[in-house]
């Protein structure tokens, strides 16, 4: 009996990782600065942050996948419409005549047709099987990528502006600042859309709070500058990588030809 009581009390004293993590995310979502204290005091904030983010993104990703299945069940079968209409076009006399006269037209029509349905699918939010299966993984990968880049820039600028904290402490706080991702749990309801502007604005607030809590020496102006510069650098480098990618592609293409 005593053993049972002991086990129960130790369970109460040490709640599970998921429960603790989600409580911290919930507190951060409610802009409670206490949410950041456990991870700031943690010995390994990066490892802790990685685990928390993995749990957050995989769970919200799974729920989003489930929501996509419900979306699929309540939307017209776009893929069936695409194939039926496609068959109708391909078997029409006009198309047959055109393709005989101009064989290149077939490729153009085929490409244009596929592109049209791709855009139509995106427009109405029609998920493919791949979307449903890969959502948790893609959300997790994107979340981690954003976390790493934001954390690198944020820590760099925060320290330059006079912030003092243990190395990588900011990484942990920034992981907790991903709390607005919790709102995407609502994606399970078909027809419901969580506005991206809401996620973006609320993450800006939690990121600012993460900077404030990690570097209490910084004034609010410097904390805001750190947050905004972190965002600006992140998007600038993404833009730069796209431009460089395109240039590299053009260069390789011209060299090959």
């Amino acid at each position: 009996m005593a053993q049972v009581t002991e086990t129960t009390s130790s369970q109460h004293a040490k709640p599970g990782f998921l429960r603790t993590s989600f409580r911290q995310f919930w507190q951060a979502l409610l802009l409670q600065s206490e949410a950041y204290q456990p991870i700031l005091q943690s010995e390994r904030p990066v490892r802790q942050g990685f685990r928390m983010l993995t749990a957050l993104y995989l769970i919200t990703g799974l729920i989003t996948s489930l929501g996509l299945i419900f979306h699929y069940l309540t939307l017209p079968k776009v893929d069936v419409i695409q194939s039926q209409v496609g068959e109708l076009i391909l078997s029409s006399g006009l198309y047959q005549q055109w393709t005989v006269e101009q064989p290149a037209l077939a490729a153009v029509v085929n490409l244009g047709y596929r592109l049209f349905w791709l855009l139509a699918g995106i427009r109405i939010g029609y998920p493919s099987r791949l979307d449903i299966f890969l959502t948790p993984l893609s959300l997790w990968a994107m979340g981690l990528f954003n976390w790493v880049t934001f954390a690198i820039f944020g820590e760099l600028i925060g320290r330059k502006l006079g912030g003092q904290a243990r190395r990588r402490a900011f990484w942990g706080a920034l992981a907790v600042a991903n709390a607005p991702q919790l709102l995407t749990l609502l994606n399970i309801i078909p027809g419901l859309v969580v506005p991206s502007s809401l996620l973006w604005s609320w993450t800006l607030l939690t990121s600012y709070q993460a900077v404030r809590v990690t570097y209490p020496q910084l004034t609010w102006r410097r904390s805001l500058s750190t947050t905004l510069a972190m965002y600006a650098l992140h998007y600038f480098f993404i833009f730069l990588s796209i431009v460089l990618g395109v240039l590299l592609g053009v260069l390789v293409y011209s060299l090959v030809l």
Partner: protein, 255 residues
């Protein structure tokens, strides 16, 4: 729940103690979230108004089957008068409409057209609080910035919670969410209520800003006016002017 509605009522009445309580509360933002759920659902209630009609409206496939059936009945009725002259063409038209119905049926959502419509319209209705919150937070971020620049105090949590409750009078937009006939008394009433909601919200914003930002009401008014001038007049004007000049330059260059 009773506490929530009591606080909500007091905030609408610009009760200073309620603002102070919200500012000090750890769960101020949670209160604001609950407020947005309630206000958003009421403000968007009109989106559900067509649900009953949606359930009664036949689908396109059902219409095709109906036409096929009608042609078949009409053809068999005619047969008694003019013989089987129209039987063959009527049969082919009936068959065409039946095939069309089958094809259209294969496009339908797996849960069926009507069920899906109802589920999705409920989902759209449930989106209203989130859309409202997104609009409000986007509008409030500049106010927060200007308030801080003009020397307002208070924690981020307190400021956000108190400023968000300025959406409280948006319940008055409930009437405007229904599809009302244009130039009717109802649409005029909806317009008047929307107008009241805006100014009532501004009054709550000023009161909240003075409490959470620890500034007097005159300064709170100045903060709101400066924010409106800078973010909604000055910056858009500069952007439009610069954009216009660049476009003019481009036109000149091309010309």
């Amino acid at each position: 729940m009773t506490d929530f509605f009591r606080t909500y009522g007091r905030l609408l009445m610009l009760d200073g103690d309620s603002f102070e309580g919200l500012r000090q509360s750890q769960d101020g933002v949670l209160f604001a979230f609950k407020l947005f759920v309630m206000v958003g659902l009421i403000a968007g209630i009109g989106t559900l108004s067509g649900t009953r009609e949606l359930l009664q409206t036949p689908t396109v496939a059902e219409r095709a089957y109906q036409v096929a059936e009608e042609i078949s009945t009409w053809s068999s009725e005619l047969e008694g008068f003019i013989g089987s002259v129209v039987a063959v063409p009527a049969q082919s038209v009936t068959q065409w409409f039946t095939e069309l119905g089958t094809t259209l049926e294969s496009f339908e959502p797996p849960l069926g057209v009507q069920t899906s419509r109802v589920i999705r319209s409920i989902g759209e209705w449930l989106t209203t609080p989130l859309t409202l919150l997104a609009a409000w937070i986007t509008a409030i971020l500049p106010v927060l910035l200007v308030a801080k620049l003009m020397g307002a105090g208070g924690s981020l949590r307190a400021l956000v919670a108190v400023l968000l409750v300025s959406a409280a009078p948006q319940v008055l937009n409930g009437l405007g969410s229904f599809p009302l006939p244009e130039a009717s008394g109802w649409s005029a009433a909806a317009g008047a209520l929307e107008f009241v909601a805006i100014f009532w919200g501004l009054a709550i914003l000023v009161k909240g800003l003075s409490v959470a930002g620890e500034v007097d009401q005159r300064k709170a008014v100045t903060i709101v006016v400066v924010t409106a001038l800078v973010f909604y007049v000055l910056i858009p004007s500069i952007v439009l002017t610069v954009g216009g000049l660049k476009l003019w330059g481009l036109i000149q260059l091309l010309g």
